[in-house]
Symmetry: C2
Subunit: 168 residues, 2 copies
């Protein structure tokens, strides 16, 4: 997948946030891969991330729990697919730990996840060219994710990541 990482996206199926930030890839990587750091920036305020568990290897679990301002918890479970330190982090919510499918496919009643996310980092001067790319299986899923506030949400979280990283 290496060569394709920064390829053009499919605008019908993909969502992408691309920005150059003035913290180096090493700090962005740590922010994305250390649970204690993830809890500090991952969820746009006033939501919070109250739990995070990750097993940083292909097939490993990536789990976060987000808490709404009203105190309601939302668990997100995914599985890491590809990990290149300081450069590329890929996971999907279609699978859980050990690559096990989440929910059912034959059983149409069950929600089985809907995206694969790529965090792609490249050095840019003293900062980082940051790409968050999210692949979907259908145009309806892409649109739904967009309507859920993908750009504002992932952008606000990145602002929080950068603010945190500048204090590290």
């Amino acid at each position: 997948m290496t060569q394709r990482s920064f390829d053009a996206i499919d605008p019908n199926l993909d969502l992408q946030l691309e920005r150059t930030v003035d913290v180096p890839p090493q700090l962005v990587w740590r922010a994305w891969t250390e649970p204690a750091l993830i809890k500090q920036w991952f969820t746009p305020a006033p939501w919070t991330t109250v739990d995070c568990e990750l097993d940083l290897r292909p097939g490993g679990l990536f789990r976060t729990v987000m808490r709404s301002p009203e105190g309601q918890d939302h668990e997100n479970v995914g599985c890491f697919l590809d990990i290149v330190e300081n450069s590329r982090l890929v996971w999907t919510d279609m699978l859980g730990a050990g690559y096990r499918p989440r929910g059912g496919g034959l059983n149409e009643q069950t929600n089985c996840g809907f995206f694969t996310a790529f965090i792609l980092l490249e050095p840019a001067g003293k900062g980082t060219r940051y790409v968050a790319r999210v692949l979907h299986g259908t145009e309806a899923d892409r649109k739904r994710h967009e309507d859920m506030g993908f750009h504002d949400g992932w952008g606000a979280a990145l602002d929080q990541l950068v603010a945190m990283a500048k204090k590290m």
Copy 2:
């Protein structure tokens, strides 16, 4: 995942075919990873495998087309997750090429795949300890796959693989 490869399965969610066959892991591996060979054994007769395409790397496409005795074609698309030559081949039909989700999860109308398969090989004398393990997300999916004839089907295909490998 290495240490877990031969772990106990979850009988509620998993299906497994385990057998010792008298062809070496190297030939079983070739049978599973060369399209020209896959076409010769992959589908229990009188079904045939009329097309096979594979990109043998994590994130790579695994596509087969099976033809029924009545001439109807059925395409299967998956994505490789983990590849260790002569030892372990892992793929899922929840994802397609480049880890893209297949079908939709938010869109409940769409079938999004339902399994992750592990082919695990270990030398056993001059032969191979062969484990085909299939993970599902729900008990209903496991049961449905079992009722579709998992054990007979994967067993008959393995017989064909061994018969072919003995002539190689």
